[in-house]
Subunit: 372 residues, 2 copies
Amino acid sequence: MRPPADVGMPLEEVDTPALIIELDAFEANLTRMAQAAKAAGVRLRPHAKTHKCALIALRQIALGAVGVCCQKVSEAEALVEGGVRDVLISNEIVGERKIAHLAALAREATLAVCVDDAGNIADLDGAAARAGATLDVLVEVDVGAHRCGVAPGRPALDLAKRIDAAKALRFAGLQVYEGSAQHIRDHGERRAAIDAAVEAAGNTVTLLAEHGLACRSVTGAGTGTFRFEAASGLYNELQAGSYIFMDADYAKNRGEGGELFDDFQHSLFVYTTVMSAPAPGRAVVDAGLKASSVDSGLPTVHGMPGVTFTGASDEHGKLEFDAADIAVSLGDKLKLIPGHCDPTVNLYDWYVCVRDGRVQALWPIVARGALL
Amino acid sequence: MRPPADVGMPLEEVDTPALIIELDAFEANLTRMAQAAKAAGVRLRPHAKTHKCALIALRQIALGAVGVCCQKVSEAEALVEGGVRDVLISNEIVGERKIAHLAALAREATLAVCVDDAGNIADLDGAAARAGATLDVLVEVDVGAHRCGVAPGRPALDLAKRIDAAKALRFAGLQVYEGSAQHIRDHGERRAAIDAAVEAAGNTVTLLAEHGLACRSVTGAGTGTFRFEAASGLYNELQAGSYIFMDADYAKNRGEGGELFDDFQHSLFVYTTVMSAPAPGRAVVDAGLKASSVDSGLPTVHGMPGVTFTGASDEHGKLEFDAADIAVSLGDKLKLIPGHCDPTVNLYDWYVCVRDGRVQALWPIVARGALL
């Protein structure tokens, strides 16, 4: 797809819908997380499923990240092709075709993957051996999200032993991501969920150590909870991803004193044009379901008090106005804050990077649509 | 993105998530709608925003469709590039850059566009004149959806006169799409909504005729209501799109006797693998929010009674089982019926076309991500 802008163009001339990164806010977010990880003495391995962009991954690594995470083999392929040398697929990879691609990629870069099944370990080992590659493998432990992962304790130990005994695999530690805690609004409840995860994972680390299996990595955490994992004394690697952009959903989390979460700034916007304003009090923008994912709520309108995005159909978004004297005109361009950044980014081929009101760069979203 | 399959491969070997078209059901849907339009004596101009695929558009045209609709200039560009000669953009196009692309494209194919604003008509006329092109222009009339479009009657007449007076534009008729009626479940209520639209649009056609303005096209209708528009005596063109695939949402509509809507068969599926099944009663598939749009509800599991898709995160879908003796195994592949086809299709680069359990063709989704 052709990009919606040219470098040097004023923001107002960018075609829409377009995915805008405000570089000042974005760079401040990158720096803030890098400093937080450094101050806590833990590694940072940001999640690239958020941005799907090798150029952003390389910027994170330049600020001290040890590599990135992603969720799919095809994402890892796009990132390695773009110059990233160390990728953890923080997910299970099941299926002959996928595993063959993973093993081939492990010859080009340092690749790690997660498991929660003994048969899958055998499949990974066989494919890595055939490819002449070595894979780092982590056991995913379920600490509350009840999605993937085995129970803490003995089930994790059993899998770790199998990895350790495999010829072409290296046991690398535990994947412990408490996904269901990320959007708990209350600070105390969010902390309690991570405390429980830390206890369960800590007991597992101890059990493994008693069997001679050292966990090089205890890795996990997200933007909603990373300060708890960083201070846990157990986790040595953080996988936060959304912090670079911040979405409307994360911005609803509360801090210790009940204040809204403000560690990071909104830096990602869907830029959109008012394409219809046929009657007073009605206006439609050109960004709908195919321009902003609504799974975690509708986008919000940035910097325009009294203007609300009230509904999305495939290619349209409806605006409503709090008062009769608030209005927009045909052709006006607005910034929307997506409800959920990750699936919204996946709808675009280009980031339009803006500083001081001008397009500074166009970054390709190389892993857009990388489903396999 | 690399395709998830090779031609000739058995379905079970297709990598996942993949977007599958079952060709027998798909072709039956195409034929059924073509016959319905022919029997009613109205033109068929299927909506390509559903499929975004030039090869599908050409198949629809081969069965008698006069052309296709789409919503975006960049979609029209991709379709014309793929060989489609007649495209109606059933939407307003606002903004200098977009209009310049539209005018340029109108030199390559027959292009029509909708308007609901006088200034926009002037912009279209200027750009078409500069490009040495002629654009067909329809007035969009709002008949209940309260999205785009002017009110029936005088506001529509005023715009039609302006189009008729413009140098590089041709007045082509009325765009009358009752989008909010498509998913009214009850047959009688759905019919009543279209009856109201037909009355309002019919009065407008009469008013325009009294002023010497003939409506060559009265165009609209969707998969939920097309039989009403086809029988109205007013509409002479149908824009249904979803009928080719059928999604879970349309399948909830009811017929005259209260029966579920069964004019068309489900032909589009998200093929997915069980990637984690770490404990009894739990299973996770590799298709989440980035593989199936959930704006109109979660996908349903095809052909597996007792198995329910109960939740989606970015790259994961959770399954639940009605009884302890129902289960799936790691590596099993299932078919999901998307809640909403159009934004789901927009997540993929390839259709994997299947007949008799084998991959017969790979069709590129050329207008995937065509937002501009």
